[in-house]
Symmetry: C2
Subunit: 206 residues, 2 copies
């Protein structure tokens, strides 16, 4: 931390960022002195970490660890409409607005999982899947990662999923999405992240 006072600002071709401690970040990492599993259920594991920082300070953290292969969330676009779903969300005991999504099964690629979830949840398969982003849910305390995939060239194709009831399918023009969402409750935050990523992708790639 000896050079932490150093102030750096640089200008690239496109943007200006000013940052402190830029060098530190790339040369230094806190040390995990001890890691132990303190809870394990079917789906989750909680680890307790003892971390030592360069400042001499020690901290104890609890973090939630995924026990699978990560998840996929798909943005399906058909006729300039995004296809959302409303699905029962157990953690809030209410319906939530989300996008086709699910866990990646063992032996499955991200794209295979994306096309499977599309067919199970909205009854389409995609002839054009594009990986957009690997999302870190809340890296301070949970290591879950969600692959964001854009799906176009959709054609009807149904696979039986493990959903306990039919999902409510909601289509909305891409240009009207912000307005539509302002009237929705219980939106999965990953939907909003995905739309931010999508907007930037579309700006860059037309």
């Amino acid at each position: 931390m000896s050079i932490s006072i150093l102030s750096i600002s640089f200008k690239s071709i496109n943007f200006t960022v000013s940052s402190f401690r830029l060098f530190d970040i790339y040369n230094y990492m806190p040390k995990i002195k001890n890691r132990k599993i303190i809870s394990r259920t079917n789906l989750f594991r909680v680890d307790q970490l003892d971390i030592n920082f360069d400042t001499g300070q020690d901290r104890q953290y609890e973090v939630i660890c995924g026990t699978g292969n990560g998840a996929v969330m798909v943005i399906p676009i058909l006729d300039s409409q995004i296809i959302f779903i409303r699905e029962y969300a157990a953690a809030i005991d209410d319906y939530s607005l989300t996008l086709p999504k699910g866990k990646i099964d063992d032996g499955e690629t991200v794209m295979q999982a994306a096309n499977r979830e599309l067919q199970e949840e909205i009854g389409y398969k995609s002839g054009n899947l594009e990986f957009l982003y690997l999302l870190d849910l809340a890296p301070g305390y949970i290591n879950h990662k969600t692959n964001i995939v854009l799906a176009t060239s959709l054609t009807p194709s149904k696979l039986e999923g493990d959903e306990p009831e039919d999902l409510d399918i909601v289509k909305c023009k891409t240009s009207d999405v912000a307005e539509f969402l302002s009237g929705e409750k219980n939106i999965d935050s990953r939907v909003l992240s995905s739309l931010y990523i999508l907007n930037n992708f579309l700006k860059k790639n037309g």
Copy 2:
């Protein structure tokens, strides 16, 4: 589920949405038949839920429950620049790009927590805090909620926080944020959700 075949489409003043099962959603809820705590640590609780759906199907879920008052994430804007932070994120054992954030303490309002975190993490207080959105992290399996707050009218003011090391403060012009983020790794997904919300807010409110 008897009217689940019903197809509805309506046109409001501003947007068109088509949806199936719209009536069902508002009149029907799956029933929690049994709920039990299967794990409890200092920070997390995992509940197991047995849910009965109208289709006659039963499902068992595990959900992560927060044990506090929720969290706040603040978007500080000063001189047309957003102030981000880079902070050690224990769940991924790496540095993460995020925004000033933290738990809401007992007895604290959302706005008090927002202004405290600002002073602890970036050394500013805000004379103009605006609540933007209540974010549902991943309502299918975690009930954590994060209040997104916009902070302007910033003036220097430092409070001692409980951070184990100084945070790396990164400022970026609002117009350059998308470009800046494309070169960043380990971005907290709530930053992306917040920026989506912010963009929509600024479009509406100038």
